[in-house]
């Protein structure tokens, strides 16, 4: 094909603008034809877009950047969760009532033995995890506050987030059980947090 690209064989016409640019590399030369208009529009359009984007998001700050949008959505999700809990009638009273339900408490005890005793020991007197029976609470002693700790965990202290694994029904049951033992005063780990009574 290189043999065919002999200049003398080109069908040059008056429509052509081909001016050969005055540089050459290994025999390769470059024409200076006009760029397609769509190409130029794309370039100018991109520049205008970049400018508007910059002003909109970073100069005026009118636009919502992805990170902010993410945080807003997380906020909304949290509110939905709270609303759902309230809708389902879950509040402090709900758990106090649940402690009266022997079957539920027994179920809670079963789950407690299976999952919690590794750190809180059999009577809830605590070893790695705090003593649950001494009336002192690190993160608050209201059932709803305790529920949050069981659901989401305390990663830095090694308390796992149980919501994923147990689901709401079993978490509720285990919390009901904990509420029945919380004033047992079993000798164990030294008290941590604030004394508190609900």
């Amino acid at each position: 094909m290189t043999e065919n690209q002999d200049m003398s064989r080109d069908n040059r016409t008056e429509y052509q603008q081909d001016t050969v640019m005055d540089h050459e590399f290994d025999g390769i030369q470059e024409f200076d034809n006009r760029l397609p208009n769509w190409w130029l529009w794309l370039m100018w359009g991109s520049m205008v877009f970049a400018l508007l984007y910059w002003v909109f998001f970073h100069t005026l700050g009118v636009g919502v950047l992805p990170v902010e949008r993410f945080e807003m959505e997380m906020q909304v999700a949290q509110e939905i969760q709270i609303a759902r809990a309230l809708e389902a009638g879950i509040d402090n009273e709900f758990f106090v009532m649940m402690t009266q339900n022997e079957a539920k408490v027994a179920e809670g005890r079963e789950i407690f033995v299976k999952h919690c005793v590794a750190c809180h020991l059999d009577q809830g007197q605590g070893s790695v995890g705090p003593n649950l029976t001494d009336g002192y609470w690190i993160h608050g002693c209201e059932p709803m506050q305790m529920l949050k700790i069981i659901n989401d965990g305390v990663a830095a202290k090694g308390m796992p987030a149980w919501m994923n694994q147990l689901g709401p029904t079993r978490v509720n049951a285990v919390l009901a059980y904990i509420l029945t033992i919380k004033d047992n005063e079993v000798a164990g780990k030294a008290p941590e947090g604030e004394p508190c009574s609900f």
Partner: protein, 475 residues
């Protein structure tokens, strides 16, 4: 009559040449081609190919292999399915083999036969030549009819254009949904079509793809192949003297001549130019714009039949073939490419079949290397366990060895020793290891074992037990 005289006799009309892109006018505006109809053996073969490939391209996400689609990149759920195999985001590195393998595969084919992919199999061509251009042809008529009507204007032009673009938009919309089935599971798609209720994101994507396809097939067309497509622009490095390309037999055709009785076989009828969908003159030799669509072969063969000359003035042959009459198909670069592609294929298959069914990483708890309480050093680890298999699994986590056995008060706490995980799901778990402070000397490694209770596969994860530097080293 010389070639120059021949041209001078014609009205001053721009012709395809080697120095400019014919589809771009000198002022930068677009020169829309009006491509002439062509019939012949290659065209027939191509239409069979297009019909087959349209079915394949549209149906691929709907066909099930095992429980999963033949091909699906499930972006929202971070999983991909290919020929019955499941890939998660941890397997993303395998995409490297797919990309390189496809690239080299194209290199092999290109070095042997030029741009057959472009002319026969590329979705751009398949839908352009197999769907959109035939519809345009039906509504607006043959090449000369179209040109005349476009110049004349009027109601006759308007209704045809409106009808054509209406159909184009409708088809683009359908093909955009067909395309999105590669990314959204078809069972979900069935609930989403046609107006994507409840999923604004999907709706915006479908509008975006509809707009892009409509723009591409109604106006942009060959510009995609000429200017956008990276594969097209690599041609000059992939093709060599022995590559089979579509070319013009200069020895036989020149000098061009009106009338079949004298000169070369080319009668300069310009059929090959009129049928070219990218606007080149194949008689100028191999050009970057040529997508190997074979339209000029059929056009020329037809003319040769009519003037009683043998077919094949424009044909598939190598540059060497056109010059010497001899071709050489197998060349060193074919073998080099083949070795690379076989190696890539083997690596991909090996890696894809030898993947672990679950993935474990253990990290030390952030910002707290250890804690000491009542003379006991405690280390807290976070274990991330991911089920990469295609079914729900139960895993057991336990200390794997006696590496710390020489110390006093060694104990492990594994609050979640039994973990159930759904397919492709993952979880963070907490682990403790403990040791008497008096017994601690230096950091030591030990292992946790994670066992898949169904497959029996075990992974031992090395972790390090750390504590305070014993007093006796402080001297």
């Amino acid at each position: 009559m010389t070639e120059k005289d021949n041209r001078a006799a014609r009205p001053a009309k721009r012709q395809p040449d080697l120095n400019t892109v014919y589809t771009i006018n000198p002022d930068g505006s677009r020169n829309m081609l009006q491509v002439a109809d062509v019939k012949g053996r290659w065209t027939t073969r191509k239409y069979f190919m297009y019909a087959l490939l349209i079915i394949v391209y549209v149906a691929a996400p709907w066909v099930k292999v095992g429980n999963h689609p033949l091909i699906l990149v499930d972006v929202p759920n971070r999983a991909a399915y290919l020929m019955g195999a499941t890939f998660t985001n941890q397997d993303f590195h395998l995409f490297f083999f797919v990309l390189i393998g496809t690239g080299i595969g194209l290199f092999v084919v290109t070095s042997l036969f030029g741009r057959v992919w472009c002319g026969f199999a590329c979705p751009q061509t398949v839908f352009m030549e197999g769907v959109f251009r035939p519809i345009e042809r039906i509504i607006e008529g043959r090449r000369l009819e179209r040109i005349r009507r476009n110049q004349k204007g009027g109601l006759d032009k308007t209704w045809r254009k409106l009808l054509k673009h209406g159909i184009f938009i409708f088809l683009s919309w359908n093909f955009s949904i067909a395309f999105m089935c590669y990314f959204i599971p078809t069972r979900e798609m069935l609930h989403l079509v046609p107006f994507f209720p409840g999923s604004t994101t999907a709706l915006i994507w479908s509008l975006f793809w509809t707009g892009l396809l409509y723009f591409d097939y109604s106006w942009f067309r060959e510009q995609t192949c000429l200017i956008i497509c990276p594969y097209g622009r690599l041609q000059s490095t992939l093709v060599d003297y022995d590559t089979v390309i579509i070319g013009y037999d200069e020895k036989r055709g020149e000098p061009r001549h009106k009338g079949a009785d004298k000169g070369g076989d080319c009668i300069d009828c310009r059929r090959c130019v009129d049928v070219c969908p990218t606007g080149i003159d194949i008689r100028n030799g191999l050009q970057l714009e040529c997508i190997g669509c074979t339209a000029c072969i059929d056009a020329c063969d037809d003319i040769m039949d009519k003037i009683g000359k043998p077919q094949g003035l424009v044909r598939f042959d190598s540059s060497r073939g056109f010059e010497t009459g001899k071709s050489k198909l197998l060349r060193p670069r074919f073998f080099v490419y083949s070795v690379i592609i076989l190696a890539m294929g083997a690596l991909f298959v090996a890696r894809a079949t030898d993947r672990e069914s679950f993935h474990v990483t253990v990290l030390r708890s952030q910002g707290m290397p250890y804690t000491i309480e009542d003379g006991v050093i405690r280390n807290l680890y976070t274990l991330h366990l991911q089920n990469k298999s295609d079914s729900a699994r139960v895993y057991f986590i336990a200390p794997a060895d006696d590496a710390l056995a020489g110390h006093e008060g060694v104990d492990y706490i594994i609050p979640q020793g039994r973990v159930e995980l759904d397919r492709l799901s993952d979880r963070q778990l907490t682990l403790f290891a403990m040791m008497s402070r008096s017994s601690y000397t230096l950091p030591e490694d030990f292992h946790f074992a994670v066992t898949d209770s169904i497959s029996g596969a075990v992974q031992n994860i090395k972790v390090r037990f750390r504590g305070p530097r014993p007093a006796r080293f402080d001297s």
